[in-house]
């Protein structure tokens, strides 16, 4: 479908453009896994430019996990191939008669049989399809979990995942195992000389101290820091410190395993830390270590790395997998679920549970639904400690000790999420008291949410955010150089607000109510055992949420 320049300027690309495309469809089917439910791959103006970290794409749909808006991002060559194929976005509706590969070769679209890769892992699927179609194709695929409609299945490309919210299940529901894209069209820029200068300057700055954490330790550096602050979610959020955290830290992992670093295409940061495990390797991120480690009480680093690797192979979101397994472990501990092997601290149990989820066998059929649906089935008040907001499992930031982030989680359009709200940055600063949020926290939470919406639409990696000294001004300059539009900082501030509002509009169409903007009962009125000052009351959070909506003008 043609997209007007007005729409492209108002929503830019990525999450913003995807949100607009979804909101424009007033007849969204009630079931996100219905054939008629659209799944959108959205690219952006900056993709294909020499700007560092710009090779990214967004996958947008309603989430089968939450029923609400979902946008998940991934990186690398698929984004550039999509752009070079002439696409601002790829919108998929309908259902193939049999498992298929959607092949986009420049402007030509066709389906090919995918029976030969049915049930195969994401890496194997990519490898086989590139062997069949040609190495110049870039492939995004689902694993067995996506084929079996695991509600938090991912879409994988080149070892990275559009991870949260179950976009892999949406693609699987359309009988599409993979999308293969090849593009040969040249991407042009309005002001190439200016763009080259901006790109050189940004790349140079991206090597500095602002990104050292990502280069030298990776996101896993958070583990010991959060443990020290008592904000490392442990045993399904029953504690904020994990006694064996040092065993899972990157500082320890590099002693135990050989390690290499890698980057997405067109990235100068190189945040990926890849550890060798036997004859294979696994990418390690903080969220994997937290979700499959401390959250499940597992201190065996070999089991955590293997669990992470298994999630990648099956195409499962590690955060939702870990959150749902940890929830089930607490249910077992409380006598609410008769799976005696599923105990906190058992790495074997985590590995077994992941395989059962990926195949939907045994208790895996229940856990494949996510913690909220599992709690609704188990009943007996277990919803109080299901670690989710709007159905999306909470990432590794303890809300009681990080209360600006608690607000960010509560109001997030796609549920509890650390990529759409960067409010943790505020909690780790002198702007607020992280344990005692006030109404002044709200404007900070809004600011981080708006900036995230803008970065997800441009698209630039959030690991650059501290490199950008004048966030809106520099973002505007990049967009001017690429598009020639006379975009200003103020326009981008307005654009960010528009994009956040459009995500909400999708949620309103899907039946959202204010009651959803909250946290599980677990977090109210019971302090963290190791931090008695970290108390969040329901009334306080409700005040913050109300102020958030007031400041948004909703």
């Amino acid at each position: 479908m043609p997209l007007s320049e007005d729409v492209l300027r108002q929503y830019i690309g990525g999450s913003g453009l995807g949100a607009w495309l979804l909101a424009s469809n007033q007849d969204l089917p009630p079931d996100p896994l219905s054939p008629d439910a659209p799944l959108i791959f959205a690219f952006s103006p900056l993709v294909g430019s020499p700007l560092t970290t710009s090779a990214k794409f967004a996958v947008v749909s309603r989430s089968p996990l939450t029923g609400r808006f979902n946008d998940s991002l991934a990186s690398s060559g698929f984004a550039i191939a999509g752009k070079q194929a002439g696409c601002d976005a790829i919108v998929i509706v309908g259902k193939a008669p049999a498992l298929s590969v959607l092949v986009i070769d420049d402007g030509n679209v066709r389906l090919e049989p995918a029976g030969d890769v049915a049930g195969e892992s994401c890496p194997v699927t990519e490898e086989r399809l590139r062997a069949r179609l040609g190495t110049d194709y870039r492939i995004a695929s689902i694993g067995p979990a996506g084929e079996r409609a695991v509600r938090y299945a991912t879409i994988s490309h080149d070892g990275r995942h559009a991870g949260r919210g179950g976009s892999g299940a949406v693609l699987g529901s359309k009988n599409i195992k993979a999308i293969a894209v090849r593009g040969t069209q040249r991407v042009g820029w309005a002001r190439p000389r200016q763009l080259t200068e901006l790109s050189r300057d940004l790349s140079k700055r991206s090597f500095g101290p602002a990104t050292a954490k990502y280069r030298e330790l990776g996101t896993a550096a958070n583990l010991l820091t959060f443990n020290r602050f008592g904000t490392l979610p442990t045993r399904n959020f029953q504690q904020g410190t994990f006694e064996d955290a040092p065993n899972l830290s990157p500082e320890q992992l590099r002693v135990e395993y050989s390690r290499t670093r890698a980057s997405c295409v067109a990235c100068t940061i190189g945040c990926e830390h890849i550890y060798s495990v036997g004859k294979s390797s696994v990418r390690v991120e903080y969220e994997n270590l937290f979700a499959l480690g401390s959250l499940c009480g597992v201190s065996d680093h070999a089991a955590v790395l293997r669990a992470s690797q298994r999630c990648d192979e099956l195409g499962i979101d590690t955060i939702s997998a870990g959150g749902t397994i940890a929830f089930a472990m607490e249910c077992v501990e409380r006598g609410l679920l008769d799976e005696p092997w599923l105990t906190f601290g058992s790495g074997e149990a985590v590995l077994r549970a992941i395989d059962l989820i990926g195949t939907r066998e045994g208790v895996g059929a229940l856990l494949a639904e996510g913690s909220r649906r599992a709690a609704e089935t188990i009943g007996q008040g277990s919803i109080a400690f299901a670690p989710q907001v709007k159905g999306l499992e909470i990432p590794g930031y303890e809300p009681r000790g990080l209360q600006t982030m608690a607000l960010g989680f509560a109001v997030g359009a796609r549920g509890a999420d650390h990529n759409r709200s960067g409010a943790y940055d505020v909690d780790f600063s002198d702007k607020v008291d992280r344990r005692h949020a006030t109404l002044d926290s709200v404007r900070h939470a809004i600011d981080t949410e708006d900036k995230a919406a803008l970065m997800d639409s441009l698209i630039l990696c959030k690991f650059l955010r501290r490199v950008l000294e004048d966030f809106h001004g520099e973002s505007a300059a990049m967009l001017v150089a690429v598009t020639g539009w006379d975009v200003t900082s103020d326009e981008l501030r307005e654009t960010a607000r528009r994009i956040v509002a459009t995500k909400r509009q999708v949620n309103l169409l899907a039946g959202w109510t204010l009651a959803e903007d909250t946290l599980p009962d677990r977090f109210f009125n019971s302090p963290l055992p190791n931090d008695p000052e970290a108390v969040l009351t329901r009334e306080r959070l409700q005040e913050l949420v109300a102020e958030y909506h007031r400041q948004r003008g909703w």
Binding site: A212, K213, L217, N222, F226, F229, Y424, D430, F463
Partner: protein, 84 residues
């Protein structure tokens, strides 16, 4: 007082903590510059590099070089970016 290093500051300092005598944050940073050369690109005359944060006893984040410190305080030096 004690200084604890986490993340990148720990990498650069090469130690996880040390004890020193100082009455203000500014004095701590001055002492660290002298004792831990690896921290040189993280400490500027105006204070810590914006990518680095200082926290007092796990409670309050502090930026003013005039911040007063007590003998039993623990100053945590960490990466300001805790994105993951």
């Amino acid at each position: 007082m004690y200084v604890e290093f986490l993340g990148i500051p720990r990498e650069r300092a090469g130690i996880s903590e040390l004890e020193l005598e100082a009455e203000t944050l500014g004095q701590v940073l001055g002492a660290l510059s002298a004792r831990c050369p690896g921290l040189s690109d993280l400490i500027t005359p105006a204070g810590l590099h914006p990518s680095i944060a200082a926290n007092l006893n796990g409670d309050e984040f502090v930026t003013s070089l005039e911040t007063r410190l007590a003998g039993d305080d623990r100053l945590l030096i960490l990466s300001a970016d805790v994105g993951g």
